[in-house]
Amino acid sequence: MVDLWHVTFEVFRQKDNQKSHFNFFELDINPDEYVLDGIERIWAFTDRTLVFSHACHHSTCGACGMLVNGVEKLTCITSIRDVTRDGGKIRIEPLRNFPIISDLSVDMSSLYSRMEAVGHQPILPIQEEDSKGKVKSEGDLLRLADCIECGLCISACPIALTTSNYIGPAVLAGAQQHGELTPCILELVNSENGAWRCHSAYECTEVCPSNVDPAWRIMELRRKIIANRFSSFFTRK
């Protein structure tokens, strides 16, 4: 029999545009379960009006990103043990820098359309993309791209905090991964709201649950844009 921990879940609540508040839920929970398990239990047994997003429960869909004790986490892979202690509390809030739909659920449609616009490919041939650009040939095998579009990086970015026009780390990383700087992509990333907005706080890489390393990709992208600008300057007729 596993020893259960007594944990207080402090959950952010907001419906429509009403004033936000926190609800407190006391749970006896196995510390090796995940934060999302606790939230689901609250919904199942205590409060059916609690809204939150989730789907796959194994860090592939990117739906369950939330702030856990102030830090962006994918709640399906964040164990209770890692974020609190027996008798402690867990503060759950929705991701920052996105409009709140209800309670813990945010509207990430702008992220999805921006990802599409920069040509981010969710499925890649293995030879094209290994971690950090190492090229390996593995026949026709396909893999899922690292980025699961969870939005944690945009929530953590201090620049996305003040201006939502900044297209954000995930999208810039997607553009870098796409490889080719087509005129359309260049217009998006070589702009005030693109790669030049980043101020090297590295929070995106810090919270990324999926090994994308967006900050590194933004720096790569900048070099690519600078090289592109130089060559177009010298080949201009």
């Binding site: 359309s113 921006r114 620049i159 939502s164 297209i167 702009s191 005030e192 709201n193 907005r197």
Partner: protein, 124 residues
Amino acid sequence: MHDGFDVKSRMGESAGAWFFKVASGGLIILVLFIHLVINHLIVEGGLLKYADVVKYYQTWIVPFMEVFFLIFVVSHSLIGLRSVLLDLHPSNQVLRWLNRGLVVIGCAAIIYGTWLVFVIVGRG
């Protein structure tokens, strides 16, 4: 803004401004290092007397170095300030006035500083 996109063409942050900021930053570090070494380590007690300052400016390379430094420091600081203001997403109209204001302040500071250097060189 439509569907999360905003690619209105306006004089926002650009590849050129960013590159200049990084490059001028590097040059400033270099010159500031020389400046610190001379002012605080080589010259005993620092360049604190009027006569010492005038004498220092008689070395031919010093006025050039100082004017060069002035141009890069003023540009770097104002482009940096502009980056901070751009993070607040000013409207197109506000940005237009901001750009004009910063150019005027920058030019005025550089002209004034250069004039000052010439005045001091002339007192030698």
